[in-house]
Amino acid sequence: MKQYDTRRCAIRRKRRLTGDVFDFTVDAGDLAGISRAGQFAQIYVPGKTLRRPISICEADPENRALRFVIQVRGEGTAVLAGLEEGDSFDLLAPLGTGFEPGDTSRRALFVGGGIGVPPLLGAAKPFGGNAVLAAGFRSGDAVILKEDFEAAGCEVRIATDDGSFGRRGLVTELLGATEFDVIFACGPRPMLRAVSRLADERGVPCQVSLEERMACGVGACLGCAVRLRGAAGEFYGRVCRDGPVFDSRSVVWENGTERRAASWQT
């Protein structure tokens, strides 16, 4: 079987999670069996030049299904979010590296920010009660997937920017003296950078999922560059192929020029 391919996938189930976040389960056929959380699909948007990279929230090979949680961020994602059950997604999947859960008897910390939370779900499930999710959202209205993590046995701690739900402040303030052996994180770059620093301080491995504007999605066009640290020095890697999940120590977290990578025309 091909490592990745395009496939027209019927939308089996659609749910609205918040004002601008939608939860889709699609019939992905054999693609479901080779996909895992943290990998992503490039979803075709009629009339748009570029597909939209959307993380795989969960892969369910038994039911030949993939789950995607999509936030409306621009014209393209608005078109996708407007599709209904019975419509279909044209997927190019599965792409990228995905999370490597490893030994699930370890105490795992999952750190998510906003729409960065969904790809953590499929990775957290095998850890069950060994997982703690620290998730940050804009406000209580924006909280997503809390029940899904709880149903998997994970402990869920939530922070919001405005204090309308959980603790007011940053996700990193939710940790206290909690001990853990491994970290998985997905969210805005400043958050990932803080989590990466935390992992260094605690001396635990940390996998981070990065976001960048993408074109081909398969590693050919070099559009989605990320500064990485390798044996021979720094270089530009590809978020789509070398990532989107990276060892946090391999990422060069540049100073000063934090920016909203994906805020243009998505």
Partner: protein, 303 residues
């Protein structure tokens, strides 16, 4: 079944559909979708004498009907290409075009020299990259620049030499003629049009490089016009490109004067586009009882 074979500067392509440089890497990633022998050829990612790191991100941005890119010629260098990428690509049963770039005419010549001893079928001289400070477009926007680099590389290149032209010029006919007189065996056009967008909220350009190259359907009419103008000025064959999205566009560009077409940006929305374009052309030829695809070239009946 029509004959889709075309010859460009002595090189045979099994069909006139060629993957455009920069969108297809060295072919490996797309070979997951279909055997590369389905394509007429592959124009490799631009290669320079030494490895280049490329530009800082963000490197791409979608725009209406297209996209901007400023990848900045990131590539592993010509030696790596010859040792690691070319042997694999040559086994795929498609024509291999090595796209080369440089900062000085000497750089271009050394790369061309190294490639002359390899199995590449053709060299495409990139003098039209808008995304690097030196070596790209400054050679491609004046007749003198085009002549200097083309003539120099010609002396060091034993392969058929195709010169890839920039659309960022006022008279593409003159530029095309300059490349021809300096010894080019073929021309390819158009490279991207220099563009820019600004995020009005942050007041920052959307690309870290500030400017980038515009490609996609938005530039297709410019490509048709420039291929047509160049075709009327030169005798050497032209490989047309710029926003080709389907077989109709490919046929149109051939009518304007292209002997073959390159396919780039559409690969990002449909990686199977080149295969569909070749199939569509075949069907179009059959339906219109045209035996050879090359009969389309330059057959526009201009007013």
């Amino acid at each position: 079944m029509a004959n889709l074979k075309v010859r460009v500067a002595g090189v045979e392509f099994r069909n006139p559909v060629i993957a455009a440089s920069g969108t297809f890497g060295f072919g490996r990633e797309f070979s997951e979708f279909y055997p590369l022998s389905a394509l007429g050829g592959v124009s490799c990612k631009g290669i320079t004498l030494r490895e280049r790191p490329g530009n800082p991100p963000p490197r791409i941005a979608e725009t209406p009907g297209g996209m901007l890119n400023s990848v900045g010629l990131q590539n592993p260098g010509v030696d790596h290409f010859i040792e690691e990428d070319l042997p694999w690509l040559k086994r795929q049963g498609t024509a291999v075009i090595a796209n080369i770039a440089g900062s000085t005419p000497e750089d271009y010549c050394r790369v061309a020299e190294k490639l002359s001893d390899t199995a590449v079928d053709m060299v495409e001289l990139n003098i039209s990259c808008p995304n690097v400070k030196q070596g790209g477009m400054q050679f491609g926007t004046t007749c003198a620049g085009v002549e200097t680099v083309t003539a120099a590389v010609r002396r060091h290149c034993s392969k058929p030499l195709m010169v890839k032209l920039s659309p960022n010029v006022s008279d593409i006919g003159e530029i095309a003629a300059a490349a021809e007189s300096a010894g080019a065996d073929a021309l390819s056009l158009i490279n991207t049009l220099t563009g820019m967008r600004i995020d009005i909220r942050t007041r920052r350009p959307v690309l870290r490089n500030n400017t980038g190259g515009l490609s996609g359907p938005a530039v297709f009419p410019v490509a048709v016009r420039m291929v047509w103008q160049a075709y009327r000025r030169v005798k050497i064959p032209i490989v047309g490109m710029g926003g080709v999205s389907g077989w109709r566009d490919a046929a149109e560009l051939m009518l304007a004067g292209a002997a073959a077409v390159q396919i780039g940006t559409v690969l990002f929305s449909d990686p199977y586009a080149p295969v569909k374009i070749a199939d569509g052309l075949n069907q179009y030829l059959d339906e219109n009882k045209i035996k050879n695809v090359s009969e389309l070239t330059g057959k526009v009946q201009a007013w």
